[in-house]
Structures are given as structure tokens and as C-alpha cells.
């Protein structure tokens, strides 16, 4: 074996270790940043942070499914509902502790994702979108049909999570909820950061770009696609569980079709296939509606007009953003960064 080959092998082993170390570092930095942010923010902003963090969980999973493995899902709102009701039943009815309840809700949703993913491998494009759409429309209706279990229209209420006594009695509930959601988001970030850089991530990209080429590489295309669905569903389940913990409620109204559509729009707007893009998408989902509401309220308009104004502004922002940054906000940030670097280089050179 030549010296070059030996060096290359050592280099490859280092890259593998580096990916894991980088993922861990990223998770630690994210955890520290979230901790500092939650300390600085008001209670209301902490609640918005918690909402953003559970949205990050579902969006990160969806961006892996759609951006990385090339499968579309209009049913992620319903998968969140599975996690949310799972957590609500386990915490509220079975009196499980928070962490095992969230873990079980994640696992239950992953199993639903496995079934959905197995069906999805036989469907493509609009047919897959249609099937997941039917799931998104049909599943929340089960809450009405089995109202004794799922609480009907009112849903299931759970008690607020109690902060551990060691953290002091003055810790605001909203900050504790933000920390819980932050822990979930950091776990998702670490897991998916490593997944997208692993052999599985490469297999998903291969399947997305060219299914025939992927199968000629010996990859089981259907299995790779199903795995993407399972991972994505698990993230949605965790997000749903966190939603229940943060809002102390799992009700069908929170998981309408519009949620699934908003999730899909958010990953496209944030930057498809990118975990940072998922974070942008989560910020858009939480902040844009309240901003548009504030803008609408700042005009003295009739109730009919002002009630529809946020939706109109939301649509306008989406259109403008997609025209300005066709590859999403993260794509725009990357392009801006590249332009800035080129400018700095040319200034130094000149």
C-alpha cells in the first residue's frame, strides 16, 4: 500500500471523527445559545422560542424527507398530532414522566411513519402528495370519532410541566418549557446533522437524484425511502409531544391541513434540505403571523379586512421571498456570504 493511500485512509478516518465531533460541538453551541437566549427573553418571548423549537424539530425532519430523500409529505401536521396525542395520553392519563412519555410518543409516531413510508415507496410525486394529504385530512377527525379517548373537539389537557426543585421556585414556566423544547431540538439537530453526513445521508441523496443509479449501486431504494419517512415521522412525533407539553393541550384544531401546508412552505422558504433552513422556517412560522397581525392592526381597517390582512401579507411575503431567494432564506444568506467574500478578496487583491 502506497504512502499516499495510507495518508488518505488516515484522513478519511479523521473526517469521520470530525463529523461526529463537529455535530457534538454544534449541539453544545446551540444548547448554550438557547440557554442564554431564554435567560434574556421575556416570558412571552420564551413561549415563542419554545414554539419555534418544536417547529424546528418537525421542519428538520421534513427537510430531510423532502430535501434529502426527495419525497413530498402533506401529512406532517397529522404526524405531529400522533405525537401530541400520544404524549397527552401518556402524561395526562397514564401519568408517565415527561422524558419517557416524549420518547414513547416519538417511537409511536416513528411506527406510524414506517407504515406511511412503506406505502409511500409505491407512490411518486402527486400520488404521494395525495396520499399524505388524505392522512392529514383524515387523522384529526379521529379525535371526534373516538371522543371518549381523544377528548373530541376540546382535545386532551395536560398539567404544565413542573420544573425540578433544584432549579429554584422562581424559574418561570415558559423558560422551563423553552428548555424542554430546546433539549428536543438539540437532540434532533445532533442526530440529523450526523445522519445527513453519514452513508444513509448519501444514500438518500442518491435515491433523490437518480433512483436507477442508486439501485445500480446495490442500494435498496424502498428501504432508504422508508427510513427517511421513519426518521422524519419521529421528528414530527417529538415536535407534537413538545407542543403538548408547551401548550398543555392536544386538540384537533391545532393539526388542521393548514398546519401541514405551512410546514411544507416553511422548509421551502427557509431553504430546502438544510437544517439551518429549517431553523429559518421555524422562525418564519412563529414570528411572521404575529408580525403580520401587528401590521394589519396598525392600520385602522374594518374588522373584515383586518382579519384577512395577516394572511394576505403572509402570502405576499412568501411570494417576494421566493422571488428574491429561489433557494430559500438560507440560500440567500449563502449567496450573500459568497458575494461578501468575493468583495473582500477583490479589495485585498486591488
Amino acid at each position: 500500500m502506497s504512502a499516499i493511500a495510507a495518508r488518505a485512509r488516515v484522513g478519511r478516518a479523521r473526517i469521520g471523527e470530525l463529523t461526529l465531533a463537529r455535530g457534538l460541538l454544534l449541539a453544545l453551541v446551540a444548547a448554550a445559545a438557547l440557554f442564554v437566549a431564554s435567560e434574556l427573553l421575556s416570558s412571552f418571548a420564551d413561549l415563542e422560542l419554545a414554539e419555534g423549537l418544536y417547529f424546528f424539530c418537525v421542519l428538520a425532519g421534513l427537510t430531510v424527507l423532502t430535501g434529502l430523500s426527495g419525497q413530498i409529505s402533506l401529512g406532517h401536521g397529522a404526524l405531529m398530532a400522533v405525537g401530541a396525542y400520544g404524549a397527552a395520553l401518556l402524561i395526562g392519563e397514564q401519568h408517565w414522566a415527561l422524558v419517557p412519555a416524549l420518547a414513547a410518543a416519538t417511537a409511536i409516531t416513528a411506527v406510524v411513519g414506517l407504515l406511511l413510508g412503506a406505502a409511500a415507496t409505491r407512490l411518486r410525486g402527486p400520488y404521494l402528495a395525495g396520499a399524505t394529504l388524505a392522512f392529514a385530512v383524515g387523522l384529526p377527525a379521529l379525535a371526534d370519532k373516538y371522543s371518549s379517548t381523544f377528548g373530541g373537539e376540546n382535545g386532551l389537557v395536560v398539567n404544565p410541566p413542573n420544573p425540578p426543585s433544584g432549579l429554584g421556585s422562581s424559574l418561570p414556566l415558559e423558560r422551563w418549557e423553552a428548555w424542554i423544547a430546546g433539549a428536543g431540538a438539540v437532540i434532533v439537530l445532533f442526530t440529523l446533522h450526523n445522519l445527513v453526513r453519514s452513508g444513509y445521508g448519501r444514500a438518500m441523496r442518491a435515491v433523490r437524484d437518480d433512483e436507477i443509479a442508486a439501485s445500480l449501486c446495490g442500494l435498496r431504494v424502498a428501504r432508504v425511502q422508508t427510513l427517511a419517512f421513519v426518521v422524519s415521522a419521529a421528528c414530527a412525533g417529538l415536535a407534537g409531544g413538545l407542543l403538548t407539553v408547551v401548550l398543555q393541550l392536544a386538540s384537533p384544531g391545532a393539526f388542521q391541513l393548514s398546519l401541514s401546508l405551512s410546514l411544507l412552505t416553511a422548509i421551502v422558504l427557509g431553504g430546502l434540505g438544510s437544517l439551518v433552513g429549517a431553523a429559518w422556517g421555524a422562525a418564519v412560522l412563529v414570528l411572521l403571523p404575529s408580525w403580520t397581525r401587528d401590521i394589519a392592526n396598525s392600520f385602522s381597517l374594518s374588522t373584515k379586512v383586518s382579519s384577512n390582512m395577516p394572511l394576505a401579507i403572509y402570502g405576499l411575503v412568501l411570494v417576494v421571498a421566493m422571488l428574491a431567494w429561489p433557494s430559500g432564506i438560507q440560500g440567500g444568506v449563502r449567496a450573500g456570504g459568497a458575494r461578501l467574500r468575493a468583495l473582500v478578496r477583490s479589495r485585498r487583491g486591488g
Binding site: M1, S2, I4, A5, A8, R9, R12, A13, G199, Y200, R202, A203, R205, A206, D209, D210, I212, A213, A214, S215, L216, C217, G218, L219, R220, V221
Partner: protein
């Protein structure tokens, strides 16, 4: 993505009475041929003769209507495409099929992902194709046509096949690069004892490195002879080979 219980087969690739239909059209009609380890068989013919369909049927990308395809003792027809690869038949498709977003090295690793190929396997490919080592961190989309072809062949080799199906490897390449690819194909057969089934439009260069030539016309075998005999056959050259 770990290795499965699949065992790569060795031995002769035997195609017997193979027929493939596209709707009412018979694209491959009663084709019989065999490829032995260490030998190159060139499949020649005009556009639409059924060459690519023949390869696609062997690797189960297209279902066969009739016939048999055996590698050693094992029947391949009716298997999933990935199982054919796992049993030792690597197919380098026309258009190369490299994943542009992935780097050269990531593409190579993709070829051995199913069996958890060790790093040494990549080093072997780099030793055979040094140009790929220089480009290993580059996205495959930035490679030249010749480099992509080498990458595609390299990726197939990481699967450790015993049979290599090559579909138009010189398509769209400059003559010098095309000659290098053909030289590589010959080396693979000689040094690795691969059985190579080479589909090629450029009959002259294919016959120059092949041991045997099979000429297809409208899906049927019209000639099956030693490569040198075919190259010397004036009538065959004029009627089917175009040189």
C-alpha cells in the same frame, strides 16, 4: 447499509434465449451469448438494435419476456436490481449515473455502501484511476465527461463485481479519452479477471480490445464471432459496423 447475506457469484455469465418486449415491440429477440471471466465481449449494432435493452434486461432494470440469465449457478432474472448487483453484476449505465451533488469520494463510497466496503477498496480504485484521487473532494458535477466515466466505472468496482456491464462508455468523449477508457476496460478484464459485456457504438475501438463480438440487428443476434474475425469481415463491417 451493512452487508447482507448476499454472496457475490463468480463464473460465466450465460444469456440464453432472452426476449424483451416494449409493449408490442420486441426489443431483444432470442439473444444467446456468454461472457467468461477475463474476457471482453463487445455488443455492437446500430441505434435501436437492442444493445442497451439487452444490458438493462440482464441487470433486471427491464423485465424479460422469456429466456434465462445465469451467473455461475444462479438465475438472475426476476431478481431486484440491487440483488443483481449484490450477486456480482455491476452495470455502468449510459449517461454514467453519477450523483452530481456528492463528491468523487462520496460517489465511490456509495458503490460499496451496501457491503460496508473498507477504505482499502477505495485506495485500490484510486491506484487504478489516479485521476480520481486528485478530484476526490470535488463534486462529481464539476468533473469532465471522461472523469465522470472513470468515476462511474470506479464506483462499480467498489462493489467487487465479477461481471461488468458497460453501456456506451465512450459516448460523448474525445478520441484520446475514449481510447484510455477502452484500455482501462481491457486491463480490468486481464488483471481482475472480470467478465466484461461492452455495449459500444464505436465498433472499431470496441473490437480492438474485445475478445468476442456480438452484432445485434432489430434485437436479434446476426453475428457472434471472434473480435478479430468480425473486424476483418468486410461485409459485416459495411452492413452493421459502420467502418
Amino acid at each position: 447499509m451493512s452487508a447482507t447475506g448476499e454472496q457475490a457469484q463468480t463464473g460465466v455469465l450465460e444469456v440464453d434465449g432472452l426476449c424483451t418486449d416494449y409493449g408490442p415491440v420486441r426489443a431483444v429477440a432470442d439473444v444467446t451469448l456468454s461472457v467468461e471471466p477475463g474476457r471482453v465481449t463487445a455488443v455492437l449494432g446500430a441505434n435501436g438494435a437492442g444493445k442497451t435493452t439487452l444490458l438493462r434486461t440482464i441487470s433486471c432494470l427491464v423485465p424479460a419476456r422469456e429466456g434465462r440469465v445465469r451467473l455461475g449457478e444462479r438465475e438472475l432474472l426476476g431478481s431486484a436490481v440491487e440483488d443483481v448487483v449484490r450477486r456480482g453484476v455491476a452495470h455502468v449505465p449510459e449517461g454514467r449515473g453519477v450523483i452530481g451533488e456528492l463528491t468523487t469520494e462520496e460517489n465511490l463510497r456509495l458503490g460499496g455502501l451496501w457491503r460496508g466496503a473498507p477504505a482499502e477498496d477505495l485506495d485500490e480504485v484510486y491506484e487504478l484511476l489516479p485521476a480520481l484521487r486528485e478530484r476526490r473532494r470535488q463534486p462529481a458535477s464539476s468533473l469532465s465527461g471522461g472523469e465522470r466515466q472513470m468515476l462511474s466505472i470506479g464506483r462499480a468496482l467498489v462493489a467487487r463485481p465479477s461481471v461488468l456491464l458497460l453501456d456506451e462508455p465512450s459516448l460523448g468523449l474525445a478520441p484520446l479519452i475514449s481510447a484510455r477508457i477502452m484500455e482501462l476496460v481491457r486491463r480490468l478484464a486481464n488483471e481482475r479477471q472480470l467478465a466484461v459485456l461492452l455495449v459500444e457504438q464505436n465498433a472499431r475501438s470496441a473490437l480492438a480490445i474485445a475478445d468476442r463480438g456480438v452484432v445485434l440487428n432489430l434485437g436479434r443476434v446476426v453475428a457472434d464471432a471472434d473480435a478479430s474475425e468480425l473486424a476483418d469481415d468486410e461485409d459485416m463491417r459495411q452492413a452493421y459496423l459502420g467502418f
